[in-house]
C-alpha cells in the first residue's frame, strides 16, 4: 500500500509517498520515514490521521503496534498520514536523571562548603542536628528518585522533548539551591525537638509508602514497553487515584515540619499545584477509558489526589 505523508499545512513530507506491504504496521512506517529522512527517528514522529474538515475532535494518533490497514477506512491501497516533528527527544530516564542530579549535588555544597562567606557571613557556623538530618533526608529522597528512574518506573512514552530538560532542571536546581541556602544558613533557627522528630519520621514513612506506590504502578504495565493504562488497585490506590503524588506531597510536608523554612513551604505549594494538575488529567483519563461500557470495567469512585479536598 502507499502512504502519503503530509505535514499539517498540507505539504508533502516525503516526495512520492512511501510504499509498504499490505501487512505493514505503523512501526514499519516509522522506520521507513527514518530511513528516508535520517533526522526523524521514530520517537520524534507524531503520526495522525487527517482531521475531517470542520470536525472539532482531537486527531487520531497512530499506534506503533497496529497495522496500517486498520486505519484505512475505504481505500485499502492508499493512506494519508499527517506528520508532525516533535523536535529533538531525550529518554525519560535521561530527563529525570539530570533534573534529580542537581538537587542531589547542590544541597550538600551548601552544607559542606564555606559558601556563606561569599554572601557576607564570615567565620565558623554551628551546625544543628536538624540540619544534618535534613541533609540525609534530602539526599536520600533524590537518590531514591534516581534509582526509581532506572529500576522501577515504566514510562508510557519513551521520550520527552529536549527543551523539557532545560525547563525541568531550572525548576529543580533553582528550588534545590533556594531551599539549601536557607536550611544550611549560619543564622538558621531550628524548631523544637518533638516537631523535628515527627516531621522526619512522618516524611520517611511517606517516602516508603511512595516507593511501594511506584512498585504497584510498575506492575500495572508489561515490560515490553506497551504503555497503556490500567485501574490501579491495592494499598492507598483503593482510596485515591494518584496515591503516588499524595505520598510525595506528604513527605515534603514532613520535611517542612522538621525544617520550617518559607522556601521549603513555597516549594511544597508549587509542587502540589503541579502534581494536582497531573492528577486531575490522569483521573479524568481513567474515568473516560473505564466507562463501564462494552465489557470494560467502570472506574470506581475515588479521591483524585488529596482527600478530603479533591
Amino acid at each position: 500500500m502507499k502512504v502519503n505523508l503530509v505535514s499539517r499545512n498540507g505539504r508533502e513530507v516525503v516526495k512520492g509517498g512511501i510504499e509498504l506491504t499490505d501487512e505493514a504496521t505503523v512501526s514499519d512506517l516509522q522506520e521507513a520515514i527514518h530511513a528516508r529522512i535520517k533526522k526523524y527517528y521514530p520517537s520524534r514522529q507524531r503520526l495522525t490521521l487527517p482531521l475531517q474538515a470542520g470536525s472539532k475532535g482531537k486527531p487520531v494518533v497512530l499506534i506503533p503496534k497496529k497495522k496500517l490497514a486498520d486505519y484505512c477506512d475505504g481505500n485499502a491501497n492508499n493512506l494519508t498520514v499527517v506528520f508532525k516533528d516533535l523536535g529533538v527527544q531525550v529518554s525519560y530516564s535521561t530527563l529525570f536523571f539530570w533534573e534529580y542530579l542537581g538537587p542531589l549535588v547542590i544541597y550538600p555544597v551548601f552544607y559542606y562548603f564555606p559558601v556563606y562567606k561569599y554572601f557576607g557571613y564570615e567565620g565558623e557556623r554551628t551546625i544543628y542536628p536538624v540540619q544534618t538530618y535534613a541533609l540525609y533526608y534530602w539526599c536520600f529522597h533524590y537518590f531514591k528518585r534516581i534509582l526509581e528512574t532506572f529500576f522501577v518506573h515504566r514510562f508510557s512514552h519513551a521520550t520527552s522533548p529536549l527543551s523539557n530538560v532545560f525547563r525541568n532542571c531550572a525548576y529543580y536546581w533553582t528550588f534545590g539551591a533556594y531551599i539549601a541556602y536557607h536550611v544550611n544558613h549560619p543564622l538558621y533557627t531550628p524548631v523544637g525537638d518533638f516537631q523535628i522528630k515527627i516531621g522526619f519520621t512522618f516524611g520517611l514513612i511517606c517516602q516508603l509508602a511512595n516507593f511501594y506506590c511506584h512498585l504497584i504502578l510498575r506492575n500495572l504495565r508489561s515490560p515490553d514497553g506497551n504503555g497503556g493504562y490500567q485501574i490501579p488497585r491495592g494499598f492507598l490506590f483503593n482510596i485515591v487515584t494518584c496515591a503516588n503524588y499524595t505520598t510525595e506531597i506528604y513527605q515534603w510536608l514532613g520535611f517542612n515540619m522538621a525544617t520550617q523554612t518559607i522556601p521549603g513551604c513555597v516549594f511544597l505549594v508549587v509542587a502540589t499545584l503541579i502534581m494536582t494538575n497531573w492528577a486531575l488529567t490522569k483521573h479524568r483519563r481513567l474515568k473516560k477509558l473505564f466507562d463501564g461500557k462494552e465489557g470494560r470495567p467502570r472506574y470506581p469512585r475515588r479521591w483524585v489526589i488529596l482527600p478530603p479536598f479533591m
Partner: protein, 221 residues
Amino acid sequence: MAGFLSALRRIYLSLYNWTVFIGWFQVLYFAVKALREGGPTTVYDAVEKPLQLAQTAAVLEILHGIVGLVRSPVSATLPQIGSRLFLVWGILWSIPETRTHVLVSSLVISWSITEIIRYSFFGMKEALGFAPSWLLWLRYSTFLILYPTGITSEVGLIYVALPFIKASEKYCIRMPNKWNFTFDYFYASIIALAIYVPGSPHMYGYMLGQRKKALSKSKTA
C-alpha cells in the same frame, strides 16, 4: 435579566475605561507642562498623583479577566501590570533618588500616550459599539516605537535605582527569624531586570502578532 446584566457590564466598562483615560490624559498634560516650565527633574512631582491612581486602577483589569468581564487572558495582562506597579511603587515611590532622572520623562510620556490610545479605544467600543479605524491603527502601531522607549526607560530606571536600593536595605528581611526566611530587595530587583531579557522580545512579538491579526481583519471587513 441577561440583557440588563449585559447593559450593566457595558456601562461599568465604559465608565472604567473613560475614567482611567482621563487619568492618563492628566499624566501626559502635566508631564509636558512640567517639561516646558521646569525641565525633566520636575516631571515626577507634577504627575505623581494621577500616575499612581491611573496605574494602580489597572489592578481591576486583572479582576475583570478572572471574573470573565473581559476576554483578555490573565497571562498577558499580569506581567504587564506587574512591571508597571513595580516601577510606580517599587522604584519611583520607594527610591526617591530616581525621581529627578531624565528617564522618568520618557517613561511617563511613553506610558501615557500608549494608555490614552488604549483606554479610548476600549472606551469607545464599550460605549458606542465600535472604534474608528484610525484609532485601531494607532492602537496597533504606536507600540512599535513606544514599547522600546518605555522598556528602555523601565530598565534604565531600575538600573539607576540599584545602588540606592542596596544602600537603603529597604524591604529586606534578614535571618535569624522563626520561619527562616530572607528577602533581599536588591537581588529581587536584579532578577526583575533579568526577566526583561526574555520578557521584552516575547511581549513585542506578541504585539506584532496581534497587529497582524487586527489590521488584516479590518482590511477584509
